[in-house]
Subunit: 209 residues, 2 copies
Amino acid sequence: MKAYKIPEATVIRLSIYSRQLSNLRKAGVETVSSEEIANSVGVSSAQVRKDLAYFGEFGTRGVGYRVDELLGNLTKILGLTKEWNLAIIGAGKLGSALALYEGFRQRGFSIRAIVDVDHKRVGLDLAGVVVDPLDRLETLIKERDIKIGIITVPAAEAQRVTDRLVDAGVPAVLNFSPQVLRVPPHVVLRNVDLAVNLKVLSFNLSHNS
Amino acid sequence: MKAYKIPEATVIRLSIYSRQLSNLRKAGVETVSSEEIANSVGVSSAQVRKDLAYFGEFGTRGVGYRVDELLGNLTKILGLTKEWNLAIIGAGKLGSALALYEGFRQRGFSIRAIVDVDHKRVGLDLAGVVVDPLDRLETLIKERDIKIGIITVPAAEAQRVTDRLVDAGVPAVLNFSPQVLRVPPHVVLRNVDLAVNLKVLSFNLSHNS
């Protein structure tokens, strides 16, 4: 099971399946077919089976998948049995919104540090985490075992804080800034472009009519 | 060119290519190969060529693509030659962050209305748009020709405001709430799960070491 063999699109779908399964479990559903998963996500059932086949044999022909069991397996595959400690760099509107976003905590992501360069924001309490000055970044990373840094600072500052995260040994960076960031090959980087979702809607609106 | 023939993953990649091309143009680059596009996005060059082939012949063998021309074509394909008017439902931290997000305006998305049920938020100015009371939703949609509604309200309220958008004739909904929403088939819906990005990082962190 090597990461480089698995297409990123598959990993994204697996995480969406895990969310659907989690909703099904909450609703008390015990078994589910690949068709039902496929329909709720908007892909083909062949795609669901192919995505899962990367990781072994799941489910029983004619019966489907046990929701509990498949969710457990996906949780393991996605590395979500471990709790990952996060730091948010930038406590502006977006940083604060992410700090308060319940979806992170519900899925095993724990926001352990929030830092900002602006002294007016230092000391604010965001869902139980107090904003620290940016100066303390390296200390916090070490003390609180930070594995993922979330960049919400302005574009002009983004590379500088990313370099500090990398130098302090943070192995993964989630970039919400519009800046294209450079990281060394051993660091995992993901760029979030909130406008991508709007472009997909724009495409659909343009081609539906 | 019918939307249903084009895989969603392709549309997502096209919008990422368009962002890269826009960065290249800003940097003064005039031509680019499919390999260069592929490397900057993290897919294969065959994938880039396949994605573009859905829409016709672009580029010249051995020379590559003219950045300006390909960007213009992608802009047309994605429906971004038109300006889309958006309304944000919910002026909390996330709604405010989105209202201030520069990436939307830069790409032809214009936030024309922001509404909230909380009277303490009504009257706030977010990047030039004043927060209106939720009661005015239907009037604003009509007056300001809103085509995309962005849901940032709590899960418990999300379906109710979505129904109001749909009844008022809004053809597209972008859902940031964790609620699974129901819309009629003629309405385009996209769900944004901010935790998906963290799950992909978690997967990579788990399988890299």
